[in-house]
Amino acid sequence: MQFAAGAVGGALFTPMPWKLAEDTAIWSQNWSWRPSPEDGEITSVATTCQLCAGGCGITARLVDRQRAIMLQGNPNHSINDGGICPLGASGVQFLYAPYRIPQPLKQTGKRGDPTGLKPISWDEALSALDAKLTELRTSGNPHRVAAITGQSENSMHRLWQQFSTAYGSPNLFTMPSPADSQKLAASLVFGRQAPLGFALEQANYVLSFGAHLIEGWGAPGRMQVTYGRWRDEKPGSAKTRIVQIEPRCSVTAANADEWIAINPGTEAAMALGIAHVLIRDLLYDADFVSNHAFGFDDWQDAAGKTRQGFKSFVLANYPPEKVTELTGVASEKIKELATEFARQKRAVAVWGSGNGAGPNNLYDDLVFLALNALTGNLGKSAMLGLTPEVPLGALPAPTMDGIAQRGLAQQRLDLAPKPNWPLPGNGVHAFLEAIGTNPAYPIDLLLIHEANPAYTLPGNQIYYSAQEKIGLVVSFSSYLDETALLADLILPNHSALERLDDVCGLPGVPYAYYAIASPILPPQRNTRHTGEVLLGAAQGIGGSVAASLPWKKYDDYLQERVQGLAASGQGAIAEYREIEPWRLQPGDSPELFYRRPPTEGNSAEQKTPESLQKTRTVQAYWKKLTGGMYWYDAPVNVLKNLATPSGRYEFALQNLQGKGMAADEDRLYLPHYHPLAPSGDEKDYPLLLISYRMLSLSDQFLANPPFMTKTLSDDLLQGQDLFLALHPQTARAQGFSAGDRAQLKTPQGEVAVRIHVSQGARPGALFIVQGLGHTAYDEYIQNKGVNANEIIEVQMDPLTGLATTWATRAQLRRA
């Protein structure tokens, strides 16, 4: 009895239950389906990111040089300074995406039917492409081949240009970008077509007219790093002041030192109000205006007629009271901003209308340029300039045979039978619209490279309508995106991390920049570099086309480009992280800030022009560039390089003369407030729908990866429902409470949404995010929310015919 009691008593004090619990936990946790990543040697390889045009330096961490497990910022690359954006940080998710296209595919069923896409060999795929390309040449219709590429400004784009010219088609387009309108504005005021650059690292005052500086504007990596430095406390220097002018409390507005809430679409009016005060109170840079500008005073046109100049035009039309009426901003504030802006040593005005991803209303671009010009931001202080050209090796002049010449003599389709606009540019929207409506001639073959126009084009229905009329659509996409799903033939490109490519210039950056993206791993699928496909196609066509693209491999082509760069004797390669190209002024030599800090045993290295010249061999350049270093050079003084009729900066746009301007009014030759009205009756559509982007939601070529989708808050996306942001007053007036379901209708279409109430939204406006509503890819991103591009409206700019977006009239109804 005592023994039994003792045994029971002993059992109560045993640690066995706890040991069993712990052991059971261990035994039950080693399920066979739990992935156990294999260990291996961890190495790091440097390259340049290609996931956006921002050109950040990155390193990829590899296991056994066979699989990539992480992308990080390259700490030796001073542009992004070791940091990385969320898209870059999730870059490996694109390499291993389940929706990657593993080999060429052919649509054997009805176009758009995913089950009809069957794998074919590269031989078969290339034969099909070559056959079509040859057929269209032999029938004398090379102009009926069109290409849209998502890569602009770089060597791949240059190759497309060479191919199109030698082949004989004028129909080459890039995906829309702010540079499209910037280049045209620059061609008017500077006489040179180039994108704009802003010396933001130098700025102590940033007047931003709706530019979403820390949400994807310009080069995102550079902007985030610069913003971080603006917020640093440095003894002896004042912190940079940011003034954000826009209708919504965006991330940039919330983080700015001052947010000025303005009526949507009136940013240019605000700038002109400020210009009025600068002119009236003589706060503008008089030296610049007298010595470097034309058209500030009244001027004489080519026919000898006297026309109103910028000064008297602005004084007459944009007094503070009138601007207050337009913008909703008090006149005292306009005057205060003007005085503050003029007083700064290094102030700059930046801008970005619509969602910032596409071209602007050209008169808007011209107004903001004029504001910068007035305060002397061009020339000496070089706060604004043109992105310098990178002196890469020039391509041999393309040979054009008779077929090519006849093809190139045809008008580009968006301008056929004759241009509707005085100053046409990258008219990709007008091109697609023409195909779908009443084209001057048909397009028989459309090639789509690194682009997804079926999803990313604002007013994307035009793509769906256009492709119905196109005989053969070929996509080079690495991913089964909306456009690829609608293609007849898919010849998948290597994905971004597997592909040799380059970056020429950074958006919004005034100094010269060149970097090469080299593959971190061999191609993981049976894909081919589209550059190689083009080179092969050229050889297949033979004759003058083959002669114009003489490179055997894409590597050879790119090496020839780099050879030119090395031989140019310009710029330098940034070998150390301490190099800061933004500190160079126009005319500075690149070795000025080229200092390797002292290390043990070495003194600080300072290169001389002679020692720098010794490093300019093509082998050294190729090795360093493919090793993840970038090349840079000083910005250019834009005033030393003008090609306008007057030889000066033009406030009065003489280059518009004789271009078939609609009316002969003086103001059309001057920067002025020229809003493009959205369609629809205000009675039917009482609200204004404005779209916006987030740095943490990819809305361009790449679909939002799962890591980033996880970060979306539940007041933006819940299940499959997208939430629209509106002011509580607006919600109440429309009869909605937070969370309610609604039908959002615009003249473009109708979608189902839910209501999110926010004090950051401007009353009377609705705010919709870009990047959701995909229908392709996989279940991690498919069918979540709506694609804003389906319902937002495009307004064609009357000067350029570029598709601009700023607002769409909208209505909300109960669901």
Binding site: E38, A89, L695
Partner: protein
């Protein structure tokens, strides 16, 4: 060493996050997920079931348009430094979570965890996440899993570890080089990724370090200070309304 002893360690790893530099870009959150094999689901909109070691909160000033402002607040595990135990280590019945007194890092030992979720309940910062299901990756994605961090299974809790695998790697390299182990520095994935350099990380006890200097800044505050958890993550903000939200509006 049992957790009841405090040691005279010269190292206490901590973080300072400057909210005036944070732009809510989410690079920290994504880098953390990539570095630490954090799993993701098809639908991540139920935030109570979403595993976010680094979670970025959204704070609003409560004012009407146009005086409305907001800020983002990245919240990793706070690696609470309260005497003897953090709130989570105190409640664990099987010692699956412990604070290492040499470094101050609170770590999770997955095979010991029995999934009782007492620690998840105890953490006032909601920084701990339970694996209700087996994490599942689409097959091609398994290639991106890092061998340096354990892949978890269902039934265990996980949380931010201040990337202690990076610390161990740095220590291993220091050992091989014959260097002093206590002087090892390293950077977690979030701090490294942040493009605005909003996140500083280092030894709080090294008065010369950037972290220690920033933690003493006039803009500094910590989350839920009144609970006396002694979090080792300090935040900087020039806005009073952010400071007030840091204590749920309870502090003056």
């Amino acid at each position: 060493m049992s957790e009841h002893e405090t040691t005279a360690s010269t190292v206490r790893y901590g973080m300072v996050i400057d909210l005036d530099k944070c732009t809510g870009c989410m690079a920290c959150s994504v880098a953390c997920q990539q570095e630490n094999n954090v799993s993701y689901q098809v639908d991540e909109s139920n935030k109570l079931r979403s595993i976010t070691w680094m979670k970025v909160f959204f704070l609003e000033n409560g004012k009407p348009y146009p005086d409305y402002r907001f800020t983002y607040l990245p919240r990793p595990c706070q690696h609470c430094n309260a005497a003897h135990d953090s709130p989570c280590t105190f409640v664990c019945p099987v010692n699956a979570t412990k604070r290492d007194e040499q470094t101050g890092i609170v770590s999770q030992i997955y095979p010991r965890c029995i999934g009782c979720r007492y620690c998840v309940a105890a953490c006032p910062y909601h920084a701990r996440y339970f694996n209700w299901w087996d994490p599942k990756w689409p097959q091609p994605m398994e290639a991106m899993l890092s061998p340096e961090v354990s892949v978890r299974m269902r039934g265990v809790v996980e949380k931010c570890t201040f990337c202690h695998h990076r610390l161990n790697r740095a220590r291993a390299l220091a050992y091989l080089a014959g260097e002093e182990l206590s002087k090892v520095t390293y950077v977690p994935a979030c701090a490294e990724a942040c493009p605005t350099k909003a996140i500083a990380f280092g030894n709080l006890l090294d008065t010369q370090s950037e972290v220690a200097r920033l933690a003493r800044d006039s803009r500094a505050f910590r989350l839920l200070e009144k609970l006396q958890t002694e979090p080792k993550v300090t935040y900087l903000s020039k806005h009073q309304w952010v400071h007030r939200l840091g204590d749920q509006g309870l502090s003056a």
